[in-house]
Amino acid sequence: MGAIASDTESAPRYGHHRFLLCFPTFPGRLSSEPWEVHRLVTLIIMKGQGFKIFLIAFFVVLSGWYLYPTVRSYFINQRLNSLEGEARVEYERENFQTIQKVNQEAIKLGLDLQGGMQVSLELRVDALIRELATDPDQTFEEVLAAAHEEARLGNQSIVDAFVAEFERRDPNVRLSRYFRNEARGITRRSSNSDVQAYLRAEADEAVNRAIEIIRQRVDRFGVTEPSIQKQGTRRVVVELPGVDDAERVRRLLRGTARLEFHLMADPGELQRSLQRIVEHYQTAEADTTARGAAAQDLATADTSAAAPGDTAFNVGDIVSGGVEQQASTGNPLLDVLQPVGQGVQFGFVAERDTAAANQLLSAPEVQAMLPTGVTLMYTSSPVATMEDGTELYALLGVRKEVELTGDVITDARVEFSQTNQPEVSMTMNAEGASDWARITGANVNRPIAIVLDNLVYSYPTVINRIPNGRSSITGLESQQEAQDVVTILKSGALPAPMEIVEEQIVGPSLGQAAVRAGVICLIVGFFTVALLMVLYYRTAGLVANLALFTTIFLIFGVLAAFNATLTLPGIAGIVLTMGMAVDANVLIYERVREELATGKSMKAAIDAGYSKAFSAIFDGNITTFFVGVILYSFGVGPIQGFAVTLMAGILVSMFCALVLSRLVFDYMVAERRMAVNFG
């Protein structure tokens, strides 16, 4: 600092009488009298201030350059909002490129200000591991489940937990047995650490592939300026401004798009299983109640359905209890499932009861009662509606074996059936077509289930062998759904299911309220701080306010330059920065006052004030800046926005206090020979 402020000697010394400088005279003189400007320029060059002036001008112009699109975008959007109907469309078309460019370069508003939807998805690595394995056995499944649990609780990645758990159970285990993949260099002799590295690489790659696929899906969804970012190693954050059709987005993002063709259960066998399972729950219920309350006879037990007893039963009761109006049948399964016993249909389940039904039917002893190789799957859309408007879904018996997968699909598009129902018609490649011909040929007069992400979309009965590889998905609810299915099919299957781990929707009304609050805070905050500074430090306070104003302008410039997103906490950060930004000036001014009190000249006091305050300003700000860095690296979304404005505010306010206000003082004192009022 001392090196720059080198003109102490040449400045005339002022006595203790300081005259007050009035604000209006200063800028007036500066701008209206050309010779003054000339003298200023000479002074700068002569006194080595050129670099400072250049720096300030450079940053201000740069900020202006970066902020220009934001301002333009504001006016264009104003214009757009004032136009209506055709005029608006016309204007949009004419200025399409400008609008796009300007919007892209403008400071982006976070979802909390703009309204929209944010979804964080996480790749199910456990599912991926299972997918990669050949012939996974019972141990494999157990280890995988344990690893999943461990990864959930601890800090370990699931791949590491998986390998560790396997080795814990059997130190001599050879994981290459499950994961042989010659193409990727995993042979029978590969070590466990090779396998571990391979799995890790696969998981990394799967996330990247998933991002690509999600990007394609989102692009087709037609959102303006979506943002898709990888977070950490396994997560993807998708931001969709202006979207609030949450359910559709969830379906679109989460769908693995696993299209499969399955054969279905033999009707006779399925019906016998159904009977046995219903009977099983009949007795199970009676048993538990009898055990729980030995004195009660069976008749009372049947009516006291709400009595605590069997856990499975309780789960069903809790889930359906609040809304369930119909009288209990005494059989927990029949409470949630209406048995059908016709063809491949197992039973009907109301949407709200699906969780309870799944709970009951997933019990191992119940699974064992199903025909071998058969599993139960829901239909994608309701098959019937009850009188009270409850929609019923059918549970179907489907053979587990996958006959054909979606890999063979080369094209898909929306079509309409004769009855004007939307359907997705698909074309297969040659290999798929020949398989399809074989499968349909061998199963004439039998149903084939078309399954997408574990839901049966349709199960048409084969009438003839289909030679040309044509198939279609029917049973879609709307054209929109058909379109989404096409989108999912075309963008390809996700390597593993994605789970939604966090989701946030901000409605437009909340966003507007937040913007209003932010703007009010900025304005009121600025004037409050500015007023206080002028009251306390008089002329010097005005200089501090000039620095403060420039600080805010530069902060916005930094945000625009770094393409940062402005969030409500971000605005809060700026308002807070206003309060703290004056700190550097306060430190300097207090020093200057102290120095003046010792009888130093104005010039000398300012010099001393600046150089002595520097270490405190620097140390204090650097530590706060570190805190900002930490906040940025650990925070997510809006908090990062706050951290960015905090960091930008610290750097910019230091610059403004040390360089800009210093320059103004030097000009006032050294050149204009004024005494500045420090209050």
Partner: protein, 307 residues
């Protein structure tokens, strides 16, 4: 205007009173944290929150009991600005379903309210754990980085004193969050924004302390003959005006946030306001005295070892 110029308060002489005040506040905070705990938001706990706008104000207590009775959802319901309520619940399940149930319940209980969902926030349990871990790391990380920096720029006693003061600030602010949640008319839930506020007040507190330490450092080089406590007292007095002015402007801007920032920023602004007051207090009454105690202990040890 000049306030606090040429003051000569005996901060150091009265430091034992400050010790008592700080001790009382810290113990009260600890007790409250153990007994009452803090209200943890869904960010760190997992769960769902819904902002529901209605045509007319509806009593939040009734909404709560209706939700509990009708659909068995334990929730926390608060007013949210005008004609809107915030429902938070730890319930798990299908988002769409829960949302639908809540809307229906409100519609049935208050037929004229016409509820619409204005915003939702869902945090899965695993995501919440990660956020929690991140929050803990960032607070610890900040304290560590500050300690190391002060260590490099000053000496270890300064680093220890400043981190101790920061710890004091964070503990008391957290304690106030614990004592007052449920009592204040606004949410005092600990969520991500509050953690950001805590880190900011750590930043603010260290800034405040460093300014005083800087002056102590300066006097240590300038006035070598003076006893250390007197030097410290001088340093505090000569920076007092700055401490008050900066504290004032920052507090003002935080109050602006509190009043005009809307529901989202209210808890955040409250944390900062409390933190600024406590932080300013501790940079005068806690950090420098700790420095003195450390020096004196050292001096005594030096005396005993010389014997």
């Amino acid at each position: 205007m000049r306030l606090f110029e040429h003051t000569n308060f005996d901060f150091v002489g009265n430091r034992h009173k400050a010790y008592i005040l700080s001790a009382v506040l810290m113990i009260a905070s600890l007790i409250s944290l153990v007994v009452r705990g803090v209200e943890v938001g869904i960010d760190f706990q997992g769960g769902m929150s819904f902002v529901i706008e209605t045509d007319q104000p509806i009593p939040v207590g009734d909404v709560r009991s209706e939700l509990a009775d009708q659909i068995g959802i334990e929730s926390e319901v608060k007013t949210y600005g005008q004609d809107a309520i915030l429902i938070r619940t730890a319930a798990e399940g299908d988002i769409t379903e829960v949302q639908e149930q809540i809307l229906q319940t409100i519609q049935t209980a208050f037929p004229d309210s016409n509820p619409t969902v204005a915003g939702t926030d869902i945090v899965g349990p695993r995501f919440a754990e990660d956020l929690e871990r991140g929050a803990v790391y960032s607070v610890i990380g900040s304290l560590l980085v500050i300690f190391v920096y002060i260590l490099i720029r000053f000496e270890w006693r300064f680093g220890f004193a400043s981190v101790a003061a920061l710890f004091h600030d964070v503990l008391i602010t957290l304690g106030l969050f614990s004592m007052f949640y449920g009592i204040m008319p606004f949410s005092l839930q600990i969520d991500q924004t509050i953690i950001a506020a805590f880190l900011t007040l750590i930043g603010y507190g260290i800034n405040d302390t460093v300014v005083i330490f800087d002056r102590i450092r300066e006097y240590m080089n300038m006035l070598k003959t003076e006893p250390f406590p007197i030097m410290v007292n001088r340093a505090i007095n000569s920076t007092l005006s700055r401490t008050i002015v900066t504290g004032g402007t920052t507090l003002l801007s935080v109050i602006v946030l509190f009043i005009f920032g809307g529901e989202v920023l209210r808890g955040f602004a409250f944390a900062l306001a409390v933190g600024i007051v406590v932080g300013t207090y501790s940079s005068v009454f806690v950090a420098p005295p700790i420095l003195i105690e450390l020096r004196e202990r050292e001096a005594k040890r030096a005396v005993t070892s010389r014997r």
